[in-house]
Subunit: 306 residues, 2 copies
Protein backbone atom coordinates (compact mmCIF):
# COMPACT_ATOMS: atom_id res chain seq x y z
CA UNK A 1 0.00 0.00 0.00
CA UNK A 2 1.13 3.48 -0.85
CA UNK A 3 -0.71 6.35 0.87
CA UNK A 4 -0.46 9.53 -1.13
CA UNK A 5 -1.58 12.96 0.09
CA UNK A 6 -1.36 16.25 -1.71
CA UNK A 7 -0.72 18.85 0.98
CA UNK A 8 -0.81 21.82 -1.33
CA UNK A 9 -1.90 22.34 -4.90
CA UNK A 10 -0.88 25.95 -5.44
CA UNK A 11 1.93 27.20 -7.63
CA UNK A 12 3.87 30.47 -7.36
CA UNK A 13 1.94 32.11 -4.50
CA UNK A 14 -0.49 30.65 -2.00
CA UNK A 15 -4.10 31.72 -2.08
CA UNK A 16 -6.65 31.19 0.71
CA UNK A 17 -7.68 27.52 0.75
CA UNK A 18 -4.79 26.53 -1.52
CA UNK A 19 -1.43 25.78 0.00
CA UNK A 20 1.82 25.70 -1.91
CA UNK A 21 3.17 22.58 -3.49
CA UNK A 22 3.88 19.55 -1.37
CA UNK A 23 3.15 15.84 -1.56
CA UNK A 24 3.33 13.35 1.31
CA UNK A 25 3.80 9.66 0.64
CA UNK A 26 3.50 7.09 3.41
CA UNK A 27 4.55 3.49 3.13
CA UNK A 28 5.29 0.85 5.71
CA UNK A 29 5.85 3.19 8.66
CA UNK A 30 8.01 5.70 6.87
CA UNK A 31 7.11 8.81 4.94
CA UNK A 32 8.58 10.85 2.13
CA UNK A 33 7.78 14.44 1.31
CA UNK A 34 8.19 15.86 -2.18
CA UNK A 35 8.67 19.64 -2.08
CA UNK A 36 7.90 21.77 0.94
CA UNK A 37 6.23 25.09 0.10
CA UNK A 38 5.39 27.72 2.70
CA UNK A 39 2.73 26.36 5.04
CA UNK A 40 3.56 22.67 4.57
CA UNK A 41 3.80 22.09 8.32
CA UNK A 42 0.30 23.54 8.77
CA UNK A 43 -1.14 21.47 5.93
CA UNK A 44 0.38 18.35 7.52
CA UNK A 45 -1.30 19.20 10.83
CA UNK A 46 -4.61 19.94 9.12
CA UNK A 47 -4.56 16.48 7.55
CA UNK A 48 -3.62 14.90 10.86
CA UNK A 49 -0.27 13.68 9.52
CA UNK A 50 2.84 13.39 11.59
CA UNK A 51 6.06 14.95 10.41
CA UNK A 52 7.99 12.90 12.90
CA UNK A 53 8.14 9.88 10.59
CA UNK A 54 9.28 11.82 7.51
CA UNK A 55 12.52 10.15 6.52
CA UNK A 56 13.31 12.14 3.44
CA UNK A 57 12.36 15.29 1.59
CA UNK A 58 12.81 15.26 -2.19
CA UNK A 59 13.01 18.58 -4.00
CA UNK A 60 12.08 18.98 -7.64
CA UNK A 61 13.85 22.37 -7.81
CA UNK A 62 14.50 25.38 -5.60
CA UNK A 63 11.89 27.95 -6.45
CA UNK A 64 10.55 29.25 -3.16
CA UNK A 65 7.01 27.95 -3.71
CA UNK A 66 8.59 24.49 -3.37
CA UNK A 67 10.99 25.23 -0.51
CA UNK A 68 9.73 28.09 1.67
CA UNK A 69 8.19 25.83 4.31
CA UNK A 70 11.40 23.99 5.08
CA UNK A 71 12.74 26.18 7.94
CA UNK A 72 9.46 26.05 9.85
CA UNK A 73 8.94 22.34 9.26
CA UNK A 74 12.44 21.44 10.40
CA UNK A 75 12.05 23.57 13.53
CA UNK A 76 8.73 21.94 14.33
CA UNK A 77 10.29 18.51 13.78
CA UNK A 78 12.97 19.51 16.28
CA UNK A 79 10.41 20.79 18.79
CA UNK A 80 8.57 17.48 18.42
CA UNK A 81 11.73 15.80 19.70
CA UNK A 82 13.28 14.52 16.49
CA UNK A 83 16.90 13.50 16.80
CA UNK A 84 17.09 11.10 13.82
CA UNK A 85 18.84 12.43 10.71
CA UNK A 86 16.73 13.64 7.81
CA UNK A 87 17.71 12.91 4.21
CA UNK A 88 17.28 15.69 1.70
CA UNK A 89 17.47 14.98 -2.04
CA UNK A 90 17.56 17.47 -4.86
CA UNK A 91 19.55 18.92 -7.72
CA UNK A 92 22.67 20.99 -7.29
CA UNK A 93 21.87 23.99 -5.08
CA UNK A 94 20.70 21.94 -2.10
CA UNK A 95 23.61 23.25 0.00
CA UNK A 96 22.45 26.81 -0.65
CA UNK A 97 18.89 26.00 0.29
CA UNK A 98 20.11 24.50 3.55
CA UNK A 99 22.37 27.50 4.13
CA UNK A 100 19.32 29.75 3.77
CA UNK A 101 17.32 27.54 6.11
CA UNK A 102 20.03 27.77 8.76
CA UNK A 103 20.11 31.57 8.56
CA UNK A 104 16.39 31.58 9.32
CA UNK A 105 16.08 28.59 11.65
CA UNK A 106 19.48 29.08 13.39
CA UNK A 107 19.65 25.59 14.82
CA UNK A 108 18.14 22.28 13.82
CA UNK A 109 18.69 19.64 16.51
CA UNK A 110 19.21 16.75 14.09
CA UNK A 111 21.46 15.97 11.18
CA UNK A 112 20.51 16.95 7.64
CA UNK A 113 22.06 14.57 5.12
CA UNK A 114 22.25 16.08 1.68
CA UNK A 115 22.08 13.96 -1.47
CA UNK A 116 22.70 15.79 -4.73
CA UNK A 117 20.92 14.46 -7.78
CA UNK A 118 22.60 14.99 -11.12
CA UNK A 119 22.66 13.62 -14.63
CA UNK A 120 19.58 12.76 -16.69
CA UNK A 121 18.38 10.28 -14.12
CA UNK A 122 19.38 8.86 -10.76
CA UNK A 123 17.99 5.97 -8.75
CA UNK A 124 17.99 5.43 -5.01
CA UNK A 125 16.08 3.52 -2.37
CA UNK A 126 14.13 4.79 0.62
CA UNK A 127 12.90 1.93 2.78
CA UNK A 128 10.88 -0.27 0.46
CA UNK A 129 10.52 2.48 -2.11
CA UNK A 130 12.58 2.59 -5.27
CA UNK A 131 12.94 6.17 -6.38
CA UNK A 132 14.03 7.36 -9.77
CA UNK A 133 14.67 11.05 -10.27
CA UNK A 134 14.55 12.03 -13.93
CA UNK A 135 15.24 15.40 -15.45
CA UNK A 136 12.40 17.49 -16.81
CA UNK A 137 12.46 20.94 -18.39
CA UNK A 138 11.79 24.04 -16.31
CA UNK A 139 13.40 27.49 -16.15
CA UNK A 140 15.93 26.04 -13.68
CA UNK A 141 17.26 22.49 -13.28
CA UNK A 142 14.30 20.38 -12.22
CA UNK A 143 13.61 16.71 -11.60
CA UNK A 144 10.46 14.64 -11.57
CA UNK A 145 10.24 11.54 -9.38
CA UNK A 146 9.06 8.05 -10.20
CA UNK A 147 8.30 6.02 -7.09
CA UNK A 148 7.92 2.27 -7.17
CA UNK A 149 6.82 -0.02 -4.40
CA UNK A 150 7.81 -3.44 -5.73
CA UNK A 151 5.90 -6.52 -4.76
CA UNK A 152 7.30 -9.93 -3.96
CA UNK A 153 6.59 -12.65 -6.47
CA UNK A 154 3.73 -14.96 -5.55
CA UNK A 155 4.71 -17.74 -3.13
CA UNK A 156 3.95 -21.11 -4.62
CA UNK A 157 2.92 -23.20 -1.62
CA UNK A 158 2.57 -26.33 -3.73
CA UNK A 159 6.21 -26.10 -4.83
CA UNK A 160 7.32 -25.45 -1.25
CA UNK A 161 5.43 -28.47 0.03
CA UNK A 162 6.80 -30.65 -2.76
CA UNK A 163 10.31 -29.68 -1.65
CA UNK A 164 9.35 -30.21 2.02
CA UNK A 165 10.41 -26.65 2.92
CA UNK A 166 9.45 -26.10 6.57
CA UNK A 167 6.59 -23.61 6.77
CA UNK A 168 8.51 -21.35 9.15
CA UNK A 169 11.06 -20.63 6.38
CA UNK A 170 8.44 -19.58 3.84
CA UNK A 171 8.37 -15.90 4.87
CA UNK A 172 12.12 -15.44 4.44
CA UNK A 173 12.09 -17.16 1.09
CA UNK A 174 9.21 -15.02 -0.08
CA UNK A 175 11.21 -11.92 0.84
CA UNK A 176 13.93 -13.12 -1.53
CA UNK A 177 16.32 -14.64 1.01
CA UNK A 178 18.21 -17.85 0.37
CA UNK A 179 17.84 -20.02 3.48
CA UNK A 180 20.00 -22.83 4.81
CA UNK A 181 18.29 -25.24 7.12
CA UNK A 182 19.48 -28.59 8.52
CA UNK A 183 22.00 -29.00 5.73
CA UNK A 184 19.61 -28.09 2.91
CA UNK A 185 19.74 -24.85 0.95
CA UNK A 186 16.49 -23.35 -0.32
CA UNK A 187 16.43 -20.53 -2.83
CA UNK A 188 13.57 -18.14 -3.56
CA UNK A 189 13.53 -19.31 -7.18
CA UNK A 190 12.51 -22.79 -5.99
CA UNK A 191 9.33 -21.60 -4.30
CA UNK A 192 8.33 -18.37 -5.95
CA UNK A 193 5.83 -18.27 -8.75
CA UNK A 194 5.00 -15.57 -11.23
CA UNK A 195 6.31 -12.03 -10.73
CA UNK A 196 3.73 -9.50 -9.61
CA UNK A 197 3.34 -5.90 -10.47
CA UNK A 198 3.95 -3.43 -7.66
CA UNK A 199 2.69 0.12 -7.31
CA UNK A 200 4.04 2.99 -9.37
CA UNK A 201 3.48 6.71 -9.14
CA UNK A 202 5.11 9.67 -10.84
CA UNK A 203 5.26 13.24 -9.59
CA UNK A 204 6.12 15.82 -12.25
CA UNK A 205 6.10 19.60 -11.68
CA UNK A 206 7.27 22.24 -12.78
CA UNK A 207 8.01 21.43 -16.40
CA UNK A 208 7.08 21.64 -20.01
CA UNK A 209 5.49 18.39 -21.23
CA UNK A 210 8.70 16.51 -22.04
CA UNK A 211 8.95 12.96 -23.42
CA UNK A 212 10.46 11.58 -20.23
CA UNK A 213 7.18 11.95 -18.36
CA UNK A 214 4.99 9.55 -20.38
CA UNK A 215 7.97 7.19 -20.66
CA UNK A 216 8.48 6.97 -16.89
CA UNK A 217 4.76 7.06 -16.08
CA UNK A 218 3.86 4.25 -18.51
CA UNK A 219 1.17 2.16 -16.84
CA UNK A 220 1.55 3.94 -13.50
CA UNK A 221 -1.17 3.77 -10.88
CA UNK A 222 -0.99 7.49 -10.34
CA UNK A 223 0.50 10.42 -12.18
CA UNK A 224 0.59 13.68 -10.27
CA UNK A 225 1.37 16.40 -12.77
CA UNK A 226 1.40 20.13 -13.05
CA UNK A 227 -1.65 21.78 -14.57
CA UNK A 228 -0.61 25.41 -14.22
CA UNK A 229 -3.36 26.78 -16.44
CA UNK A 230 -6.52 25.54 -18.12
CA UNK A 231 -7.22 28.55 -20.29
CA UNK A 232 -5.69 27.98 -23.76
CA UNK A 233 -4.93 31.70 -23.89
CA UNK A 234 -2.34 31.15 -21.16
CA UNK A 235 -0.41 28.68 -23.27
CA UNK A 236 2.16 31.26 -24.35
CA UNK A 237 2.75 32.27 -20.75
CA UNK A 238 3.15 28.63 -19.73
CA UNK A 239 5.66 28.11 -22.51
CA UNK A 240 7.61 31.22 -21.57
CA UNK A 241 7.97 30.19 -17.92
CA UNK A 242 8.16 26.48 -18.73
CA UNK A 243 5.02 25.28 -17.07
CA UNK A 244 2.56 22.63 -18.19
CA UNK A 245 -1.05 23.21 -19.19
CA UNK A 246 -3.79 20.99 -17.73
CA UNK A 247 -4.58 19.68 -21.23
CA UNK A 248 -0.93 18.75 -21.82
CA UNK A 249 -0.83 16.78 -18.59
CA UNK A 250 -4.03 14.98 -19.63
CA UNK A 251 -2.46 14.06 -22.99
CA UNK A 252 0.56 12.63 -21.20
CA UNK A 253 -1.71 10.60 -18.90
CA UNK A 254 -3.55 9.26 -21.91
CA UNK A 255 -0.37 8.37 -23.76
CA UNK A 256 1.16 6.72 -20.68
CA UNK A 257 -2.08 4.86 -19.96
CA UNK A 258 -1.89 5.65 -16.27
CA UNK A 259 -4.74 4.61 -14.03
CA UNK A 260 -5.35 8.09 -12.66
CA UNK A 261 -4.08 11.63 -13.12
CA UNK A 262 -4.09 14.25 -10.38
CA UNK A 263 -3.55 17.78 -11.57
CA UNK A 264 -1.77 20.16 -9.21
CA UNK A 265 0.38 23.35 -9.03
CA UNK A 266 -2.38 25.66 -10.21
CA UNK A 267 -1.49 29.27 -10.92
CA UNK A 268 -2.93 31.77 -8.40
CA UNK A 269 -4.66 33.31 -11.43
CA UNK A 270 -6.78 30.15 -11.76
CA UNK A 271 -9.55 30.96 -9.32
CA UNK A 272 -11.46 27.75 -9.84
CA UNK A 273 -9.43 24.92 -11.35
CA UNK A 274 -12.61 22.80 -11.53
CA UNK A 275 -13.88 25.14 -14.23
CA UNK A 276 -11.55 23.33 -16.64
CA UNK A 277 -12.58 19.82 -15.67
CA UNK A 278 -14.62 19.12 -18.82
CA UNK A 279 -11.71 20.18 -21.00
CA UNK A 280 -9.32 17.67 -19.46
CA UNK A 281 -11.72 14.81 -18.82
CA UNK A 282 -12.45 14.90 -22.52
CA UNK A 283 -8.80 14.08 -23.14
CA UNK A 284 -8.26 11.71 -20.21
CA UNK A 285 -11.39 10.62 -18.30
CA UNK A 286 -9.61 9.60 -15.09
CA UNK A 287 -8.35 13.07 -14.33
CA UNK A 288 -8.83 14.58 -10.90
CA UNK A 289 -8.62 18.34 -10.44
CA UNK A 290 -6.94 18.05 -7.06
CA UNK A 291 -7.64 20.08 -3.97
CA UNK A 292 -5.50 20.39 -0.87
CA UNK A 293 -6.89 17.41 0.97
CA UNK A 294 -6.87 14.81 -1.75
CA UNK A 295 -5.67 11.47 -0.45
CA UNK A 296 -5.53 7.95 -1.79
CA UNK A 297 -4.39 4.57 -0.49
CA UNK A 298 -3.11 2.82 -3.57
CA UNK A 299 -3.42 -0.95 -3.05
CA UNK A 300 -1.38 -3.59 -4.83
CA UNK A 301 -3.19 -4.64 -8.00
CA UNK A 302 -5.61 -7.45 -7.29
CA UNK A 303 -4.46 -10.94 -8.11
CA UNK A 304 -6.83 -12.87 -10.34
CA UNK A 305 -7.72 -15.42 -7.66
CA UNK A 306 -7.76 -13.00 -4.73
Amino acid sequence: MLDVFLLGTGGTSPVPERWLTSCYIRCDGMAVLIDCGEGTQIALKEQGLSFKNIDAVLFTHYHADHTGGLPGMLLSMGKAGRTEPLDLYGPDGLENLVRGVMYIAHRIPFELRLHIIDGRETGFTLGKLQIKAFEVYHSVKCYAYRIDLPRNARFDAAKARALAVPVRLWGRLQKGETVEHEGAVYTPEQVLGEKRRGIRMVYATDTLPVRAIPREAAGADLLIAEGMYGDPEKKENALKHRHMMMQEAAKIAKEAQVKELWLTHFSPSVHDPLYWKDHVVEIFPDTVISNDCIHKDIPFPEDPEE
Copy 2:
Protein backbone atom coordinates in the same frame (compact mmCIF):
# COMPACT_ATOMS: atom_id res chain seq x y z
CA MET B 1 -6.93 56.79 12.57
CA LEU B 2 -4.75 53.79 13.06
CA ASP B 3 -6.02 50.50 11.61
CA VAL B 4 -4.53 47.54 13.43
CA PHE B 5 -4.87 43.92 12.33
CA LEU B 6 -3.41 40.83 13.94
CA LEU B 7 -2.58 38.47 11.10
CA GLY B 8 -1.43 35.63 13.30
CA THR B 9 -1.64 34.92 16.99
CA GLY B 10 0.42 31.74 17.22
CA GLY B 11 3.81 31.37 18.83
CA THR B 12 6.49 28.77 18.11
CA SER B 13 4.61 26.59 15.61
CA PRO B 14 1.46 27.26 13.65
CA VAL B 15 -1.64 25.24 14.35
CA PRO B 16 -4.69 24.97 12.09
CA GLU B 17 -6.70 28.20 12.34
CA ARG B 18 -3.84 30.00 14.08
CA TRP B 19 -1.15 31.64 11.99
CA LEU B 20 2.24 32.66 13.28
CA THR B 21 2.95 36.06 14.69
CA SER B 22 2.38 39.11 12.56
CA CYS B 23 0.70 42.49 13.00
CA TYR B 24 -0.33 44.86 10.22
CA ILE B 25 -0.81 48.57 10.91
CA ARG B 26 -2.30 50.89 8.33
CA CYS B 27 -2.26 54.64 8.52
CA ASP B 28 -2.79 57.33 5.94
CA GLY B 29 -2.14 55.19 2.86
CA MET B 30 0.94 53.41 4.15
CA ALA B 31 1.31 50.21 6.11
CA VAL B 32 3.77 48.70 8.53
CA LEU B 33 4.16 45.06 9.37
CA ILE B 34 5.58 43.88 12.67
CA ASP B 35 7.06 40.39 12.37
CA CYS B 36 6.37 38.06 9.47
CA GLY B 37 5.87 34.43 10.50
CA GLU B 38 5.34 31.61 8.04
CA GLY B 39 2.03 32.12 6.26
CA THR B 40 1.86 35.92 6.68
CA GLN B 41 1.23 36.44 2.97
CA ILE B 42 -1.75 34.07 3.12
CA ALA B 43 -3.15 35.73 6.24
CA LEU B 44 -2.88 39.10 4.48
CA LYS B 45 -4.82 37.74 1.53
CA GLU B 46 -7.44 36.15 3.78
CA GLN B 47 -8.06 39.51 5.41
CA GLY B 48 -8.22 41.23 2.05
CA LEU B 49 -5.16 43.37 2.79
CA SER B 50 -2.68 44.45 0.20
CA PHE B 51 1.01 43.87 0.72
CA LYS B 52 1.81 46.33 -2.02
CA ASN B 53 1.53 49.31 0.31
CA ILE B 54 3.69 47.86 3.08
CA ASP B 55 6.47 50.39 3.50
CA ALA B 56 8.34 48.75 6.33
CA VAL B 57 8.66 45.51 8.23
CA LEU B 58 9.77 45.74 11.87
CA PHE B 59 11.21 42.65 13.50
CA THR B 60 11.11 42.09 17.23
CA HIS B 61 13.74 39.34 16.97
CA TYR B 62 14.78 36.58 14.59
CA HIS B 63 13.19 33.40 15.83
CA ALA B 64 11.68 31.72 12.80
CA ASP B 65 8.09 31.99 14.03
CA HIS B 66 8.54 35.73 13.50
CA THR B 67 10.50 35.64 10.24
CA GLY B 68 9.71 32.48 8.24
CA GLY B 69 7.13 34.16 6.00
CA LEU B 70 9.52 36.80 4.71
CA PRO B 71 10.88 35.01 1.59
CA GLY B 72 7.40 34.17 0.31
CA MET B 73 5.98 37.60 1.08
CA LEU B 74 8.83 39.42 -0.64
CA LEU B 75 8.48 37.18 -3.70
CA SER B 76 4.76 37.80 -3.85
CA MET B 77 5.36 41.53 -3.50
CA GLY B 78 7.71 41.28 -6.47
CA LYS B 79 5.19 39.28 -8.49
CA ALA B 80 2.61 41.96 -7.71
CA GLY B 81 4.89 44.40 -9.50
CA ARG B 82 6.59 46.14 -6.59
CA THR B 83 9.66 48.14 -7.51
CA GLU B 84 9.72 50.56 -4.55
CA PRO B 85 12.31 49.85 -1.85
CA LEU B 86 11.18 48.17 1.36
CA ASP B 87 12.57 49.23 4.74
CA LEU B 88 13.39 46.49 7.21
CA TYR B 89 14.06 47.31 10.86
CA GLY B 90 15.33 45.01 13.55
CA PRO B 91 18.15 44.22 15.94
CA ASP B 92 21.58 43.09 14.90
CA GLY B 93 21.23 39.94 12.78
CA LEU B 94 19.03 41.52 10.13
CA GLU B 95 21.77 41.01 7.50
CA ASN B 96 21.77 37.30 8.24
CA LEU B 97 18.02 37.07 7.98
CA VAL B 98 18.15 38.76 4.60
CA ARG B 99 21.02 36.49 3.54
CA GLY B 100 18.82 33.50 4.38
CA VAL B 101 15.90 35.02 2.51
CA MET B 102 18.04 35.48 -0.60
CA TYR B 103 19.21 31.84 -0.53
CA ILE B 104 15.56 30.79 -0.59
CA ALA B 105 14.01 33.52 -2.75
CA HIS B 106 17.02 33.94 -5.09
CA ARG B 107 15.97 37.32 -6.45
CA ILE B 108 13.80 40.10 -5.07
CA PRO B 109 13.10 42.74 -7.74
CA PHE B 110 13.24 45.72 -5.38
CA GLU B 111 15.68 47.15 -2.89
CA LEU B 112 15.70 46.04 0.74
CA ARG B 113 16.96 48.82 2.99
CA LEU B 114 18.19 47.50 6.31
CA HIS B 115 18.02 49.56 9.49
CA ILE B 116 19.70 48.04 12.52
CA ILE B 117 18.22 48.88 15.89
CA ASP B 118 20.57 48.91 18.84
CA GLY B 119 20.88 50.31 22.32
CA ARG B 120 18.13 50.33 24.93
CA GLU B 121 15.83 52.33 22.71
CA THR B 122 15.76 53.91 19.27
CA GLY B 123 13.28 56.24 17.64
CA PHE B 124 12.44 56.68 13.98
CA THR B 125 9.63 57.95 11.81
CA LEU B 126 7.57 56.11 9.19
CA GLY B 127 5.23 58.47 7.38
CA LYS B 128 3.14 60.07 10.10
CA LEU B 129 4.03 57.39 12.61
CA GLN B 130 6.61 57.91 15.32
CA ILE B 131 8.13 54.60 16.24
CA LYS B 132 10.12 53.82 19.34
CA ALA B 133 11.83 50.48 19.58
CA PHE B 134 12.66 49.56 23.19
CA GLU B 135 14.52 46.56 24.43
CA VAL B 136 12.69 43.78 26.22
CA TYR B 137 13.99 40.52 27.67
CA HIS B 138 13.81 37.32 25.64
CA SER B 139 16.28 34.47 25.08
CA VAL B 140 17.80 36.52 22.25
CA LYS B 141 18.01 40.27 21.72
CA CYS B 142 14.44 41.46 21.29
CA TYR B 143 12.65 44.78 20.91
CA ALA B 144 9.10 45.89 21.51
CA TYR B 145 7.63 48.76 19.50
CA ARG B 146 5.69 51.80 20.65
CA ILE B 147 3.84 53.46 17.80
CA ASP B 148 2.46 56.98 18.06
CA LEU B 149 0.29 58.80 15.62
CA PRO B 150 0.54 62.40 16.86
CA ARG B 151 -2.29 64.83 16.39
CA ASN B 152 -2.04 68.46 15.48
CA ALA B 153 -2.97 70.94 18.17
CA ARG B 154 -6.45 72.39 17.88
CA PHE B 155 -6.70 75.31 15.43
CA ASP B 156 -8.02 78.39 17.17
CA ALA B 157 -10.11 80.09 14.51
CA ALA B 158 -10.86 83.04 16.77
CA LYS B 159 -7.13 83.80 17.17
CA ALA B 160 -6.60 83.43 13.42
CA ARG B 161 -9.44 85.81 12.63
CA ALA B 162 -8.18 88.31 15.18
CA LEU B 163 -4.80 88.31 13.40
CA ALA B 164 -6.56 88.53 10.00
CA VAL B 165 -4.80 85.39 8.79
CA PRO B 166 -6.24 84.56 5.34
CA VAL B 167 -8.33 81.39 5.58
CA ARG B 168 -6.39 79.69 2.77
CA LEU B 169 -3.27 79.70 5.00
CA TRP B 170 -4.98 78.01 7.97
CA GLY B 171 -4.30 74.45 6.79
CA ARG B 172 -0.53 74.98 6.49
CA LEU B 173 -0.37 76.70 9.86
CA GLN B 174 -2.30 73.85 11.47
CA LYS B 175 0.22 71.38 10.07
CA GLY B 176 2.94 73.32 11.93
CA GLU B 177 4.31 75.39 9.03
CA THR B 178 5.39 78.99 9.42
CA VAL B 179 3.87 80.94 6.52
CA GLU B 180 4.93 84.21 4.92
CA HIS B 181 2.21 86.08 3.07
CA GLU B 182 2.20 89.58 1.60
CA GLY B 183 5.01 90.73 3.90
CA ALA B 184 3.51 89.22 7.06
CA VAL B 185 4.86 86.13 8.84
CA TYR B 186 2.44 83.83 10.66
CA THR B 187 3.63 81.13 13.03
CA PRO B 188 1.68 78.07 14.19
CA GLU B 189 2.01 79.24 17.79
CA GLN B 190 -0.09 82.30 16.97
CA VAL B 191 -3.10 80.30 15.87
CA LEU B 192 -2.90 76.91 17.55
CA GLY B 193 -4.72 76.21 20.75
CA GLU B 194 -4.35 73.38 23.23
CA LYS B 195 -2.27 70.33 22.37
CA ARG B 196 -4.23 67.17 21.65
CA ARG B 197 -3.48 63.59 22.42
CA GLY B 198 -2.75 61.34 19.45
CA ILE B 199 -3.04 57.56 19.22
CA ARG B 200 -0.58 55.24 20.91
CA MET B 201 -0.13 51.51 20.66
CA VAL B 202 2.54 49.16 21.95
CA TYR B 203 3.44 45.73 20.58
CA ALA B 204 5.46 43.55 22.96
CA THR B 205 6.39 39.93 22.29
CA ASP B 206 8.44 37.71 23.06
CA THR B 207 9.56 38.77 26.50
CA LEU B 208 9.40 38.39 30.22
CA PRO B 209 7.23 41.09 31.82
CA VAL B 210 9.89 43.80 32.07
CA ARG B 211 9.36 47.32 33.51
CA ALA B 212 9.84 48.99 30.14
CA ILE B 213 6.50 47.70 28.87
CA PRO B 214 4.16 49.44 31.35
CA ARG B 215 6.35 52.53 31.15
CA GLU B 216 6.08 52.80 27.36
CA ALA B 217 2.47 51.67 27.25
CA ALA B 218 1.27 54.16 29.89
CA GLY B 219 -2.14 55.39 28.81
CA ALA B 220 -1.90 53.71 25.38
CA ASP B 221 -5.02 53.07 23.33
CA LEU B 222 -3.91 49.54 22.64
CA LEU B 223 -1.35 47.18 24.09
CA ILE B 224 -0.71 44.02 22.09
CA ALA B 225 1.24 41.69 24.33
CA GLU B 226 2.35 38.12 24.48
CA GLY B 227 0.20 35.71 26.46
CA MET B 228 2.15 32.51 25.82
CA TYR B 229 0.33 30.46 28.46
CA GLY B 230 -2.69 30.83 30.72
CA ASP B 231 -2.10 27.78 32.88
CA PRO B 232 -0.17 28.81 36.04
CA GLU B 233 1.61 25.44 35.89
CA LYS B 234 3.38 26.65 32.74
CA LYS B 235 4.91 29.62 34.55
CA GLU B 236 8.23 27.87 35.06
CA ASN B 237 8.40 27.01 31.38
CA ALA B 238 7.59 30.59 30.42
CA LEU B 239 10.33 31.82 32.71
CA LYS B 240 12.85 29.37 31.33
CA HIS B 241 12.23 30.39 27.72
CA ARG B 242 11.53 34.03 28.61
CA HIS B 243 7.94 34.27 27.60
CA MET B 244 5.08 36.14 29.23
CA MET B 245 2.02 34.60 30.86
CA MET B 246 -1.44 35.94 29.98
CA GLN B 247 -1.90 37.05 33.60
CA GLU B 248 1.39 38.96 33.56
CA ALA B 249 0.35 40.83 30.44
CA ALA B 250 -2.98 41.70 32.10
CA LYS B 251 -1.15 43.07 35.13
CA ILE B 252 0.98 45.25 32.87
CA ALA B 253 -2.15 46.51 31.09
CA LYS B 254 -3.70 47.37 34.44
CA GLU B 255 -0.61 49.15 35.69
CA ALA B 256 -0.19 51.08 32.45
CA GLN B 257 -3.90 51.94 32.38
CA VAL B 258 -4.17 51.17 28.71
CA LYS B 259 -7.56 51.34 27.05
CA GLU B 260 -7.43 47.80 25.70
CA LEU B 261 -5.16 44.77 25.81
CA TRP B 262 -4.95 42.19 23.04
CA LEU B 263 -3.23 38.96 23.99
CA THR B 264 -1.33 37.13 21.27
CA HIS B 265 1.53 34.66 20.61
CA PHE B 266 -0.20 31.70 22.19
CA SER B 267 1.77 28.50 22.62
CA PRO B 268 0.64 25.65 20.33
CA SER B 269 0.01 23.74 23.56
CA VAL B 270 -2.82 26.19 24.38
CA HIS B 271 -5.66 24.59 22.46
CA ASP B 272 -8.26 27.15 23.42
CA PRO B 273 -6.84 30.46 24.63
CA LEU B 274 -10.41 31.62 25.45
CA TYR B 275 -10.45 29.06 28.25
CA TRP B 276 -8.31 31.50 30.26
CA LYS B 277 -10.44 34.55 29.62
CA ASP B 278 -11.99 34.75 33.10
CA HIS B 279 -8.54 34.58 34.69
CA VAL B 280 -7.26 37.62 32.81
CA VAL B 281 -10.44 39.69 32.70
CA GLU B 282 -10.44 39.47 36.48
CA ILE B 283 -7.09 41.29 36.44
CA PHE B 284 -7.78 43.66 33.55
CA PRO B 285 -11.37 43.78 32.27
CA ASP B 286 -10.59 45.20 28.82
CA THR B 287 -8.57 42.20 27.75
CA VAL B 288 -9.23 40.55 24.40
CA ILE B 289 -8.07 37.00 23.80
CA SER B 290 -7.18 37.66 20.19
CA ASN B 291 -7.85 35.48 17.22
CA ASP B 292 -6.32 35.71 13.77
CA CYS B 293 -8.81 38.13 12.31
CA ILE B 294 -9.01 40.69 15.05
CA HIS B 295 -9.03 44.21 13.67
CA LYS B 296 -9.64 47.66 15.06
CA ASP B 297 -9.74 51.19 13.69
CA ILE B 298 -8.45 53.31 16.54
CA PRO B 299 -9.86 56.84 16.20
CA PHE B 300 -8.35 59.97 17.69
CA PRO B 301 -9.75 60.55 21.18
CA GLU B 302 -12.92 62.58 21.10
CA ASP B 303 -12.59 66.25 21.83
CA PRO B 304 -14.87 67.47 24.60
CA GLU B 305 -16.91 69.68 22.27
CA GLU B 306 -16.88 67.34 19.27
